[in-house]
Symmetry: C2
Subunit: 86 residues, 2 copies
């Protein structure tokens, strides 16, 4: 079954308190070398049938209307070629 | 600055109520053809210096201890080659 991944991230100019919380916790846990953290969402969609241009356009509309808030977030859509299982 | 991405997803055997909520909403919004949705988290970490094996091992430890709950989630780590900005 083909799988399409939608990654939703806060726009660069938007404050990301979850990412900042992770960034602040890292040194307390003994980790160094990380200068910034952004936290977003990942959606894995299992589709029936083939992934055509029309299907990808549909997934874009899903991402715009349901999966993300376009005012504060941006998203990317890609077909997951690596984890396709029967 | 190199960027490393940590994707955290609920394990396949774990119920994912957020994914189910999205799956249930899609037909009501007029979308068809999606048979399953899983929702997880995406972390983008900006690192200083080069991404060596030791740095990636460090990121694995961050993912295990802070970014995911290994009992109910699995994670993948990959270097983001596409969006590396100065």
């Amino acid at each position: 079954m083909p799988r399409v991944v939608v990654d939703v991230m806060p726009k660069p100019e938007i404050l990301d308190p979850q990412g900042k919380a992770v960034l602040g916790a890292l040194p307390r846990l003994g980790f160094s070398g990380v200068t910034d953290v952004r936290q977003g969402k990942r959606f894995e969609l299992e589709l029936e049938g083939e992934v055509t241009e029309a299907v990808l356009a549909d997934v874009h509309r899903m991402a715009e209307t349901l999966l993300s808030n376009p005012v504060i977030e941006y998203f990317t859509v890609h077909v997951d070629e690596t984890v396709v299982t029967a």
